[in-house]
Symmetry: C2
Subunit: 334 residues, 2 copies
C-alpha cells in the first residue's frame, strides 16, 4: 500500500508552507483566495484524504446521529427496533446525515456513551428508544446539552401535556382499537391477551381494546401474561380449560398471538387471533397484526430533529406544545 | 444554552494566538511542548468540544468501521444480518471502535458510499456482507485502498484456495450435515427443501444434506423452490399430492421450514422439519434449526481486521493463506 499523502505532500505540490495548508484546512478565511484555490487543487490531485474530517471539524458539525443498538435478545418481537434502525439509516442518508450505532446495556451506560460522543464532537444529536416512566436519560442528556428526540413518549410526570423533550411514538391504543373492531366482525365475545399492568406501552394497548369493546357494548375477556410464546400458550390453554369462549383474540404482541394460536390449535379449535407489531412471524403464519409503520416513525423523528430548514438539529428544549408526533398504526388483515 | 467555547476562547485563556491553538490541534509537532501543554489545559478547562474529532484528525484515525444496513425487506430470515450487526456493535465497542451504518440499495451505491467515507477519513475499515460470485466490491474497494473484511466467502474465481481478501463465513454444509444426521434418527427417507441451483450459499447447504445422506446410505428426495413460505408450502403440498413419503425434512432456511410445516399440517400429517438460521419464528413455533452463531462471526471479523495487537486495521491484501475463518454452526434441537 502506497503511503497516504500528507500535509507536506500537499504543501510541496501547491508550492506553499505546511502552515498555509493547515490554515486552508482549519481557518480558511485567513488565506488569500488564490492560494486557497491552489491548495485545494493539490488536495484533490493527491487524494489527501482527511479533508472531510477537517471540514467537519471546521464547521463544528459531525453530521452524525447516535443511536443505541441493544444486544440481541431473540424473541418474535425483537425485530421492531431493528426495522426502525433500518428506516432511520435510510432517511438520515437522504438528509446527508449518518448514523453511529453503539452498544449499551443500561441507561447509565447509554448516557455515558452519548455524553462522550457528544463532548468529543462525534455526534450532533441522539435518538433514544424504549422510554420508560420518568426516564433518567431525559434529564441527564438535557443537562449535558445534547439535542435528542425519543422514539417513545414520556410516560411519567414529564407527560404529553407538558413535554420536556421532542418525541415520536406509535398510538398503540388506536392500533388495538382497530384490531378489536376487526375482531368484533367475528362475534361479540372478544378476548384480550396482554401484559401485566404497569408498562406504559402495554396499558396503552389494553385501553384501545377496552374502549372498542365498550363502544360496541360487547363482552370482553382479559388475560394477562408475560410476553413469550410458552407463557401465552399456557395462559390461553388454562382459560380454555376453564371454559373461556371467545370469537376472536386481540393480543398486545405477535409473541402472545403465536402462543394463543398454538393453544387454540392444541384444543382442536380455530379462532381468529390478531397480533401487534406485524413481525415476519405474523407474515409467515398468516395472522392479522397491527403494523407500527417504523418508516413513518423514522421520518417524523428526523423532521422534529432537523426542523423545516433541514440543516439544523433539534432545539434541546421543547419550544411549543406540538413538539411531538403520534403515528397511527395500521391493521394488516390476513 | 451557553455558546460553545471556540478556538478564540481557548486562545485567550492560554494566552496564545488563534493560530497556535490551530497548530496544537492540527500540527502539534511544530508547537513547543510547554505552549502545547498550556493550550491543551485551556481546551480541557473550557470543555472545547472538538478535541476528540481533532485528535482523530491528528492521529489520522477515525476508530470507525463502516457497514451497510440494507433496507428492511421483511421475511422470516431477514433478522440474521441484524443479529450480526448487533453483535459487531458490541464487540467493536469492547475494542474502542464504533460502527457507522449507511444505506445502499446496490453494490455500486455501496462502493460509492464506502469510498466517500474512506476518502473523507470517516472510517478506517469496512465490513461487507452477502458476498456473491465474483463480487464487484472486492476489486473496487481494494483499488480504493480501503481495508475490509467480508462476512461471506469469495464464491467466484477469487476462492478459498487463493483468497484476495479477508473473510469470515459460516460453514453451511456442516450445518445441514448435522441437521440431516438428526433427521435420519426419524427414519431413512430424508427430504431436502432448498433453493434453485446457482447461489453459493444454497448449493453449500444442499451439499451438506447430500453428503450426510450418502454417508448413511439412505434415500434422499430433493425439492427446490423460491425462498418464501407460500412457495415452500405449495412445493411440499404438490410433492405430497404426488405421493412423496419422507420421515423428516431438512430445509435451507426457516422460511422454507415454515412452509413445509404448514403443508404437512394441511395434509393432516406431522413430520419433523429442520430449518436454517434459528430465527425467532423457529423459536416461536418450536422447530429445530441450524444456528449461524453471528456473535462468533462478529468476533472473528474483528480478530482478522484488527490483528493480534488490537489496534491496527486489516492489511488490504491477504498476506497468508489462513486469512479467513469458517464458523461451524450449531443445530438447535427442539
Amino acid at each position: 500500500m502506497a503511503k497516504a499523502p500528507t500535509v507536506e505532500d500537499v504543501a510541496e505540490r501547491a508550492g506553499v508552507s505546511r502552515q498555509t495548508v493547515s490554515n486552508v484546512l482549519n481557518t480558511p478565511d485567513i488565506v488569500r483566495p488564490a492560494t486557497r484555490e491552489r491548495v485545494l487543487e493539490a488536495i484533490d490531485a493527491l487524494g489527501y484524504r482527511r479533508h472531510a474530517a477537517a471540514r467537519r471539524l471546521r464547521l463544528r458539525r459531525s453530521s452524525t446521529i447516535g443511536i443505541r443498538l441493544d444486544p440481541y435478545l431473540g424473541g418474535v418481537s425483537g425485530v421492531v427496533l431493528d426495522r426502525f434502525v433500518h428506516a432511520i439509516t435510510e432517511r438520515a442518508s437522504e438528509r446527508d446525515m449518518r448514523m453511529l450505532v453503539y452498544a449499551a446495556r443500561t441507561a447509565d451506560e447509554e448516557i455515558a456513551r452519548l455524553t462522550e460522543l457528544w463532548e468529543g464532537g462525534e455526534i450532533d444529536a441522539a435518538i433514544i428508544t424504549g422510554t420508560v416512566s420518568d426516564d433518567p436519560r431525559v434529564g441527564r442528556l438535557d443537562a449535558a446539552g445534547l439535542p435528542f428526540v425519543s422514539f417513545g413518549r414520556p410516560w411519567g410526570e414529564d407527560d404529553i401535556a407538558d413535554p420536556l423533550h421532542l418525541w415520536v411514538d406509535v398510538d398503540g391504543a388506536a392500533g388495538t382499537h382497530a384490531a378489536t373492531a376487526h375482531a368484533l366482525t367475528f362475534g361479540s365475545r372478544t378476548a384480550f391477551l396482554g401484559w401485566p399492568e404497569g408498562s406504559g406501552t402495554g396499558d396503552d394497548r389494553e385501553r384501545g381494546w377496552r374502549d372498542a369493546v365498550a363502544d360496541a357494548g360487547a363482552a370482553g375477556i382479559r388475560l394477562v401474561t408475560e410476553d413469550s410464546v410458552p407463557h401465552a400458550r399456557r395462559s390461553v390453554a388454562a382459560a380454555l380449560a376453564g371454559g373461556m369462549e371467545a370469537d376472536a383474540v386481540v393480543c398486545a404482541s405477535d409473541s402472545l398471538a403465536v402462543g394463543a394460536l398454538l393453544a387454540f390449535s392444541d384444543a382442536g379449535r380455530r379462532v381468529p387471533v390478531i397480533g401487534f407489531d406485524n413481525t415476519p412471524t405474523a407474515e409467515a403464519l398468516g395472522f392479522s397484526s397491527v403494523e407500527q409503520r417504523p418508516e413513518d416513525v423514522a421520518g417524523a423523528v428526523l423532521e422534529l430533529m432537523m426542523g423545516p430548514t433541514g440543516d439544523v438539529v433539534a432545539p434541546r428544549r421543547v419550544q411549543s406544545g406540538s413538539a411531538h408526533a403520534l403515528i397511527t398504526p395500521e391493521l394488516v388483515v390476513r
